[in-house]
């Protein structure tokens, strides 16, 4: 019995392999499994090669996994094009369409001998039982159900729902194809069967969605009532979600003419007193940076979501990377700081997005949510979240007394000043991007400029002590530590488990708050650490460098970073961590747990 299986499948445009994956994860979610699905496509806009990975497990799934347990190739050209996304190892079972005419020992998988390689007449079965090769994906689902005992009922229900509107005939054909796949599996059992364990009987059907939709839902839950933005991959689904839903809550979406207008409208809405958001990816972030600075100096709450993709420039729009951290923290001219938060999974995107609104409102500042293509577009099962229990904050509005002789930018002890909005009698003020005095009047005084800069930075200080915006895993006083963020964090959690299973005393810090750098929180974490890795998907190792700006990192803490579209595997990180620990041991310390 396995409690965790990673499926990877590839085919041509018409093969419906991604829709097979969708059916698989939907069935798994309905059954109470935990699961993650990622997709990858060729460069053709439509009809080119496509692939997906589905990881299904009885316990929490932290990342899309490493090498495949099960590979499904409808044809080899397409499969091998996704080499990096669909790595096959010595423990992979490979199922492929015998129609390819390739013999098992000839399959084009260089440098690796899979555990089992099964040619299966997938196309023939489809044609024979369903009368059309379009049913190949139903055969595949039948094979999956048959070989690995995954959610048989769920899969069939899914088929039915999906094909309901295509008519009885299509549905029957698909069911026959499914059955044929199942039967084929039954007739040709694996040498070493690897059925998936059933989820705990108590496991509820799980919600299923992706990070972008969750982000949109979180915005609504946090009270966001205005979204201004411009489409860009891989963030557009946030706008798409809100364009369906937000009106129901009295809000509105403006698809603007460009990213600048999108954030401009959002800043306007915030000025008018409404919680507002914009979302984009790297190129849009670059364009928005001038108005981000405006929001900083005008002290207007605003949430800006950046679903990171490969850069620079147009880069690789459909691939994940974590190379926009510098930009998030340091773009826009002048001393213009803004908090940066990052979610680590689809589920976590809900919480992080709500926190972003809370921080924006409380500190009257733009806040960046740094998501990434993987989290944003992967499908994931969600644990239930008690939305009602999450605290929602509102900006500090002036009371009656404060509206007597109101000064918008009053220098308070906290640096946060009561903020009025059009419609409030007595609260009129001038918002501006020009440096201003407490009343908002333009100034060119160096002394005032100093005090206002001071105010704008000082008000963010409490964030540096917000340990609730960090999560620590592993052994508290471990000498070996990992730091990782965003989609990488899930890989590192699994790596940590590997390492600890092998006896290493280690821990992991996952910051949801990336900027300002919370010196105290890191200080506490690093107190016991003598060696470690900051793991991230960027050529420059941006978080590692950013930590150095504010912290004296322990000497043995290094950067483990590489360009996007080259995801880390848990096992790989675990090995690097072991190496670091060993280097440390050679230097006289010990990172191994005493062998009791």
């Amino acid at each position: 019995m396995r409690d965790d299986l990673v499926f990877g499948m590839a085919g041509s445009g018409g093969d419906g392999i991604v829709s097979a994956g969708e059916s698989l994860i939907a069935a798994a979610a309905a059954d109470g499994y935990h699961a993650i699905m990622t997709k990858s496509f060729g460069s053709q806009i439509r009809g080119g090669e496509s692939s997906c990975r589905v990881r299904i497990a009885t316990a929490e799934v932290l990342n899309p996994g490493g090498a495949l347990d099960v590979a499904v190739a409808l044809n080899w050209d397409d499969f091998t094009r996704f080499g990096a996304e669909l790595p096959v190892s010595g423990s992979t079972v490979v199922l492929y369409d015998a129609r390819t005419g390739i013999q098992p020992h000839e399959v084009p998988l260089v440098g690796v001998t899979p555990k089992e390689v099964l040619p299966i007449p997938i196309a023939d079965l489809a044609r024979e039982h369903a009368g059309s090769e379009r049913a190949k994906n139903s055969v595949v689902l039948g094979l999956v159900a048959g070989f690995f005992e995954v959610s048989r009922e769920g899969l069939l229900n899914g088929l039915r729902r999906r094909l309901a509107k295509k008519g009885e005939e299509v549905l029957r054909s698909a069911e026959r194809a499914f059955a044929a796949g199942e039967a084929w599996a039954a007739a040709h059992p694996l040498r070493e069967p690897m059925p998936l364990a059933r989820p705990a009987a108590s496991a509820p059907a799980r919600m299923l969605t992706d990070g972008n939709e969750v982000c949109g839902a979180a915005a609504i839950a946090a009270g966001c009532r205005f979204f201004g933005g411009y489409p860009i991959t891989p963030s557009t689904e946030i706008m798409q979600f809100l364009s369906r839903e937000i009106w129901k809550y009295g809000g509105a979406v403006l698809q603007a003419e460009d990213e600048i207008a999108g954030i401009g409208a959002a800043v306007g809405a915030s000025f008018a007193g409404v919680k507002a958001m914009t979302a984009t990816s790297g190129p849009g972030m670059s364009l928005k940076s001038e108005i981000m600075g405006l929001a900083t100096i005008a002290e207007l709450p605003l949430v800006i979501v950046n679903v990171q993709r490969g850069g620079p420039s147009t880069g690789m729009p459909t691939k994940a990377e974590q190379a926009d951290l510098y930009q998030a923290a340091f773009s826009a001219h002048g001393d213009a700081a803004r908090p940066v938060l990052a979610p680590t999974s689809v589920t976590d995107t809900f919480w992080t997005t709500v926190q972003a609104f809370n921080v924006a409102e409380r500190f009257q500042t733009p806040v960046i949510v740094l998501s990434d293509q993987e989290i944003a577009q992967r499908k994931e099962t969600l644990d239930d979240i008690d939305v009602g229990a999450i605290e929602i904050e509102e900006r500090r509005r002036p009371g009656e007394g404060e509206l007597q002789d109101y000064a918008r930018f009053t220098l308070t002890a906290s640096g946060v000043s009561p903020i009025s909005q059009p419609g409030v009698r007595g609260g009129a003020y001038l918002a501006s991007g020009i440096e201003h005095n407490e009343r908002g009047a333009p100034t060119a005084s160096g002394a005032l400029h100093s005090r206002m800069n001071e105010k704008r930075f000082h008000k963010l200080e409490p964030l540096k002590r917000r340990a609730d915006l960090f999560r620590v895993f592993g052994d508290e006083a471990a000498p070996v530590g990992l730091v990782s963020w965003g989609s990488c964090a899930g890989v590192c959690r699994e790596a940590l488990a590997h390492a600890r299973a092998r006896g290493l005393k280690a821990k992991l810090l996952v910051p949801h708050l990336l900027y300002p750098v919370a010196e105290e929180v890191y200080g506490d974490f690093f107190a016991s650490v003598r060696a470690g890795l900051v793991v991230e998907q960027s050529h420059q190792g941006q978080l590692y460098r950013m930590l150095r700006m504010f912290l004296d990192l322990p000497r043995g803490v290094r950067s483990l970073a590489r360009s996007g579209a080259n995801p880390f595997l848990p096992i790989e990180v675990a090995e690097r961590l072991h190496a670091a620990a060993e280097a440390l041991q050679r230097d006289g310390g010990s990172a191994r747990q005493p062998q009791e």
Partner: protein, 288 residues
């Protein structure tokens, strides 16, 4: 209400004699006639001499960044359609760096009033070529004369489909006041191009005295502002003739964007889940 109720304590930084003083006065008067209290007004601008104007009023002001007044104003109006939202700025702000926002603001047809103080020059930055500077004009950035035709704001905005398009000059204060008032009252996007002389960097032929002499009120020419093609023909003379008055007023203005938003909110509102149950949306895809 009284014009002075719209006047703030901030002293304008404008040069003595700048046309923008006249625009400000006309605006005070127009607002007084319209009668909305200052705190129900949001007044947005970009950057430029002219864009300082919101600070000189008692309205909620937003002196934003160069060229972005219109997007910001749209966000404000959608967020709170009850506000009276004014937008103002210069020719550089509106037709150069901000020119990309204009067609979209117009076609969305929010109920905004956009007043441009067109002085054919960049005033605040001290006299550079502006998009409305005539061909051949010598300025500090066109030392040997500009090589391109100017934009035609009136014709452009008509082509974009604006419901109200007018031009005024502080050389005719009652006329300007009336145009601004009418623009504010117009239920939809309204554009007023004001020939507002820059006494410091503007051309000698573009000063108030010359305006007084050259001004050709469209009414006097018998123009009927319901005729859009005719309006375009008059507008095409921008830069050669100083027409004042209403070029075009849509006699049957369509619904505003914010009205359509409100209608949609009303229609869809009942379908909303309680906020706490928003995640239920993802249950149906769970395969049950």
């Amino acid at each position: 209400m009284e014009p002075r109720e719209f006047k703030s304590d901030l002293k304008p930084i404008w040069c003595p004699g700048c046309g923008d003083f006249g625009v400000l006065q006309a605006l005070y008067r127009a607002l007084a006639s319209v009668g909305r209290p200052p705190h129900e007004i949001a007044f947005v601008s970009g950057i430029g001499c002219s864009s300082r104007i919101p600070g000189y009023t008692t309205a909620y002001g937003f002196n934003s960044v160069h060229g972005r007044a219109l997007p910001i104003a749209q966000g404000i109006k959608i967020a709170n359609p009850d506000l009276l939202v004014l937008v103002a700025g210069g020719d550089g702000d509106g037709f150069s760096i901000g020119g990309g926002h204009l067609p979209h603001a117009v076609r969305r047809n929010l109920d905004l009033t956009y007043v441009v103080m067109d002085n054919q020059v960049y005033g605040l930055t001290k006299g550079q070529l502006s998009p409305t500077s005539p061909r051949g004009r010598q300025t500090v950035t066109s030392a040997h004369g500009s090589l391109e035709d100017p934009v035609n704001p009136l014709l452009y905005v008509l082509a974009y489909g604006a419901g109200f398009v007018a031009q005024g000059t502080p050389a005719d204060m009652p006329g300007l006041t009336a145009l601004i008032e009418e623009a504010i009252r117009f239920p939809g996007f309204a554009f007023v191009n004001v020939q507002s002389p820059c006494v410091t960097f503007g051309e000698a032929e573009q000063q108030l005295r010359e305006h007084k002499a050259q001004m050709k009120p469209l009414v006097a020419l018998g123009h009927d502002p319901v005729d859009r093609l005719k309006a375009m023909a008059f507008a095409a003379e921008y830069g050669r003739e100083l027409h004042t008055g209403v070029f075009y007023r849509n006699p049957q203005p369509g619904p505003t964007y914010e009205a359509l938003v409100a209608q949609r909110q009303l229609e869809l509102g009942p379908q909303a889940l309680p906020r706490e149950r928003i995640l239920d949306l993802f249950r149906k895809s769970g395969g049950q």
